[in-house]
Amino acid sequence: MAIAAESARPHHTLWGDAFVRLRRNRLAVVGAVLIISLALASIIVPLISPYEFDEQNLNAVLEGPSHAHLLGTDGLGRDVFTRLFYGARTSLAVGIFVQLIVLAIGLPIGALAGYAGGRVDNLLMRFVDIVYAFPDLLLIILIRAILGGSIYMIFLAIGLVAWVNVARLVRGQILTLKQRDFATAARAMGGSGPYITVRHLLPNSLGPIIVLITFGIPRAIFAEAALSYIGIGVKPPTPSWGTMIYNGYQNIFGAPYLVVFPAIAVGILMLAFTFLGDGLRDALDPRERR
């Protein structure tokens, strides 16, 4: 009987339930669809565009949107449409990989500091304070200088600066959660510190963490753009939205679309991540009933 009931119903896990609830949230679905289609478009753009992202045509510089060039051309006669979708690759990759690095560093450090408390907490948090107190851009430039030039090193450099917020958030969450009755109950049941942290406390703090991460993605995209602008980001001719905006800035009066299109793209992507983040936060909270 128990077995029949088990197979008749979908398996209920935290993530399974969250997915069901996420699908009911229209804005979150819109956000997810936008992000996925942008990712897909950036993958298939070589198939649908007749131009290469680094193909210069000096006979057609700074042309406005036309049938030949849907979004016009930039100062070197490169097709903006093609570059925009190639740029999406860079931006999405920066946004997502940086946050993975942020999670990989911030989550364990925050959780350890929060649960262990005392001297461990003090030590880790003072280290976080030091990283936090350092000017972000300066630190990134410093790390870039040490790590060298590949695009992965950009991820790493931004990630090594951005994890402190997550560490602080996780620590705060764990600190309050471990005082809750269910944490005491889990200890009374015989759970060890790491077990309780991973099984009971972290799932309870997933909501705020995910929101912070989704808001961190556009911030990482902007950080990459700023780096590209001062010449230590993505190497030209590889396009990123940041480089495109900053390059277009030089011709903002003659060809405003050079700034407008990538800016719209950044805006839409940010909005999409925000919708998705809000949806995830609600979906991961089982108390939320719809």
Partner: protein, 324 residues
């Protein structure tokens, strides 16, 4: 009956900015196998802290067990290494907490929470643990347990959550359950039902219970022996019968007088205990109850604390009552 748990001279202090709070001072009590004892007293008298100290669940810092022994089946739990005390928690000594609404993790299903102890302590596989969880839920009176086990805690009422907590507590067939005001947060109509159920199940399993409560009605019905606590000390102990019908300590007398009784005319007014519980950082010298006591004499204001036997098996720390 053999002794299961012997708490000897237990003192637990909390170090705060204002000073050392002596939450439990030299408390001693015993629990036999399968026996129900009650710890009684008003809020803040050290009942919960003394019980949490048994399984070392006092947050350190600020709390610290400064002295005493907790002999459980002959081993001193206070001397066990951390790893070993974790094996005792949940499997041999289980706890039921006061607040069913917050004692379950809101983001995990009942199944995940119920199977935890089974998997940790009884080494069960997932499916096996699920079957056992359903069996346990049925035993504590959850209908449609097969379906409900997959629900989250917010879909359960307070009473049902407390049933779940009880099912979790008995899941490893512990020898001792510490029930910290298990029915205080539950509807009055459910209280008796829950306690009756817990009592029956534990009788079957031969599990002893430490019942922490301030409801003397519950005490009279279930507990064999009663320990009355005041200001971190045990001020009176004896069989439930003796303490209830022949209370010796003025504090116990006051506690009983402050509870409504069905067998007395409804016009009789309840008598509160005047004053506030003492400051545990600097408790009054002598008998800690003397500032509130109506029978206070000079000898109460000094001298050391000790329990005096006033009748066979009936002890009190009140010196005046001891001389009656």
């Amino acid at each position: 009956m053999s002794t299961l748990l012997e708490v000897r001279d237990l003192s637990t202090h909390f170090h705060t900015q204002d000073g050392v709070v002596k939450a439990v001072e030299h408390a001693s009590y015993e629990v036999d196998r399968g026996e129900v004892i009650a710890l009684v007293g008003e809020s803040g008298c050290g009942k919960t802290v003394s019980a949490l100290s048994i399984v070392r669940l006092i947050q350190d810092p600020p709390g610290k067990i400064v002295s005493g022994q907790v002999n459980f089946n002959g081993t001193d739990l206070l001397k066990l290494p951390r790893q070993a005390i974790r094996k005792v928690r949940g499997s041999q000594i289980a706890m039921i907490f006061q607040e069913p609404m917050t004692s379950l993790n809101p983001v995990l299903t009942i199944r995940r929470q119920m199977t935890e102890a089974l998997e940790i302590h009884r080494g069960m596989k997932s499916q096996e643990a699920l079957d056992e969880a359903i069996r346990l839920l049925e035993r504590v009176g959850i209908t449609e347990a097969e379906r409900r086990v997959k629900d989250y805690p917010h879909k359960f009422s307070g009473g049902m959550r407390q049933r779940v907590m009880m099912a979790m507590a008995i899941s490893c067939q512990p020898q001792l359950i510490i029930a910290d005001e298990p029915t205080t947060a539950v509807d009055v109509t459910i209280q008796a039902q829950l306690l009756e159920m817990l009592h029956n199940i534990t009788k079957d399993l031969d599990t002893a219970i430490i019942l922490i409560t301030h409801n003397l009605g519950i005490v009279a019905r279930y507990a064999r022996r009663v320990y009355v606590m005041y200001a971190g000390r045990i001020v009176e102990t004896g069989s439930a019968e003796d303490v209830y019908h022949d209370p010796r300590h003025p504090y116990t007398v006051g506690l009983i007088a402050s509870v409504p009784r069905l067998d007395e005319p409804r016009t009789a007014r309840l008598v509160p205990i005047e004053g506030q519980p003492p400051d545990l950082i600097a408790p009054p010298l002598g008998c800690p109850f003397h500032p509130r006591c109506s029978r206070v004499q000079n000898q109460c204001k000094e001298g050391a604390y000790e329990l005096i036997e006033v009748a066979p098996g009936h002890y009190t720390s009140c010196r005046i009552a001891g001389k009656d």
